[in-house]
């Protein structure tokens, strides 16, 4: 039937205390007509998984600048799976080495956006992912 706005959770896991990037992304997605649930800084894997469950989001965007993605992403995926959210794709924003892309995909990371990725590219990528995962 009618098209509904994409619902996306934006979270900043890990201990570093800057969420400016995450907020910029949140605003950008709002301006593209999406409903962004913003959870803020220092999110534990449990907080992220629970918020994703309660908010029934289409996807979860993680902003990770600290290089801690190799430890954070598997733990977040695990908690999400425990909540029955195996099908919910993850998005990664931040500086992720090319070598890690493949291993990240294994945890259901559908896309990785490095610094300087253009807004329209992010938006259209998200729309593609959501329409695929809803099939």
């Amino acid at each position: 039937m009618s098209k509904h706005p994409v619902r996306i959770l934006i979270a900043k896991p890990g201990l570093d205390g800057h969420d400016r990037g995450a907020k910029v992304i949140a605003r950008m997605l709002r301006d593209a007509g999406m409903e962004v649930i913003y959870t803020g800084l220092r999110q534990t894997p449990e907080m992220i998984a629970e918020a994703a469950l309660q908010e029934d989001v289409d996807l979860v965007g993680l902003s990770i600048l600290s290089g801690a993605h190799t430890s954070l992403v598997p733990r977040i995926r695990e908690k999400m799976n425990e909540c029955g959210l195996e099908a919910i794709p993850l998005l990664l924003g931040g500086i992720i080495p090319q070598d890690d892309y493949e291993s990240m995909q294994a945890y259901g990371v559908a896309s990785i956006f490095g610094p300087g990725t253009r807004a329209d590219a992010i938006v259209s990528e998200i729309e593609t992912i959501v329409s695929k995962s809803k099939q």
Binding site: P5, L29, R30, G33, M34, Y38, T44, E46, L53, E55
Partner: protein, 358 residues
């Protein structure tokens, strides 16, 4: 599928609850079936509205309050409503930021909802979302809305108890909002009482509230129509059990100060509603209002659907030719559309009967 979903929902299953709320938000066809099957299980929750200008500390207050309610062992649900952008339809919902520490507590459920700016749709979607949370077994539902305009005021009125949160130093431009919001308050919270200017804000709030209640008294005395609600106002005396005078309480939400006291005040307001049998009146008023809104919306929707048809274009043609005047054009169109609407609703009831056998 809906039967399975509602069964799980009634058992308090969280994924089912989350999905049901999405269906409500999306005005999914199944939303209607969900509400129909849970309706008998609703009406038990106490709904507490928290509204106020942006940034007054509503979410911080709710977070601290949830701790107090949880300490008593009661489950609690939070529904936080934020405005959608009228231009893009998008929204940023950030109320959770202040409430994330409740992760891992199965007795707390938090949901953010964008207003999606539909005509009359927000109040109805909110009503249904509240019903879903109610049916899932939450005895308390805290409804956070940003008080900026009319639709938020409507939503705030869905609560048994409406709390208006103020803060010092908001400036003149919010004075008008304040005055409008104060009218719907059952309890006024002056949050950020640690901030400079709190004493002054307290005084001005007290003045505004005093003005409001004396206006109400004057109203009650002038209209003696015998109407129940008005009579209640006429008999209004401080200390009278049948009268609730909105109290003001100061809080420092960030420290949790005053939150216990606020909870006690809310409890006594709930008691007041129950003791004086106001709850029964309140429920009837709410249901009447809902029925009216849904009826209006349905009429509008159906008329709109028929409005772009051939008959409409014909009338435009005739108006353009000058062979008909606008009033007659409207009358004819109304009769025509009404007939069409009636015809299609019989068809609709027919399908529902056929397909609903489950």
């Amino acid at each position: 599928m809906v039967a399975q979903l509602t069964r799980s929902l009634l058992e308090g299953d969280r994924p089912a609850l989350a999905r049901a709320l999405t269906r409500i938000e999306n005005h999914d066809e199944r939303a209607r079936e969900i509400i129909a099957s849970i309706f008998p299980a609703t009406g038990n929750a106490r709904i507490i509205g928290i509204t106020g200008a942006p940034g007054t500390g509503k979410s911080t207050l709710v977070n601290e309050w949830v701790k107090v309610i949880r300490a008593e062992g009661e489950p609690v649900a939070i529904l936080a409503i934020d405005p959608s952008s009228p231009i893009t339809g998008g929204a940023i919902m950030g109320d959770r930021v202040r409430m994330q520490e409740h992760a891992g507590d199965a007795g707390v459920y938090i949901r953010s909802m964008a207003s999606r700016g539909k005509l009359g749709g927000l109040a109805n979607a909110t009503r249904d979302a509240i019903r879903v949370l109610d049916a899932a077994g939450f005895p308390y539902i805290l409804l956070e809305t940003v008080g900026t305009g009319q639709s938020e005021v409507d939503v705030a009125q869905l609560a048994h108890t409406t709390i208006v949160v103020e803060a010092p130093g908001l400036g003149d431009e919010v004075q008008a909002i304040k005055a409008g919001l104060l009218e719907i308050a059952d309890i006024v919270v002056l949050n950020k009482a640690d901030r400079p200017g709190a004493a002054q804000t307290l005084r001005s709030l007290q003045q505004m509230l005093a003005l409001g209640s004396s206006r109400m008294e004057a109203d009650g005395i002038t209209h003696h129509t015998g109407d129940h609600g008005v009579n209640m106002t006429a008999e209004k005396k401080p200390g009278d059990a049948a009268v609730w005078i909105p109290p003001i309480i100061q809080t420092v939400a960030r420290e949790g100060d005053g939150v216990e006291e606020l909870w006690q005040l809310v409890k006594s307001h709930i008691e007041y509603l129950q003791v004086a049998n106001h709850m029964v009146d309140w429920n009837r008023r709410q249901l009447a209002q809902e029925l009216k809104e849904r009826l209006e919306n349905q009429w509008l929707e159906r008329f709109r659907w028929h409005m772009n048809g051939q008959a409409f274009q014909q009338q435009v043609d005739r108006l353009a030719e000058g062979s008909i005047d606008p009033f007659t054009a409207v009358d004819e169109l109304l009769n025509h559309t009404l007939a069409e609407v009636l015809e299609s609703s019989t068809a609709l009831t027919g399908t529902h009967k056929g397909g609903g056998a489950r």
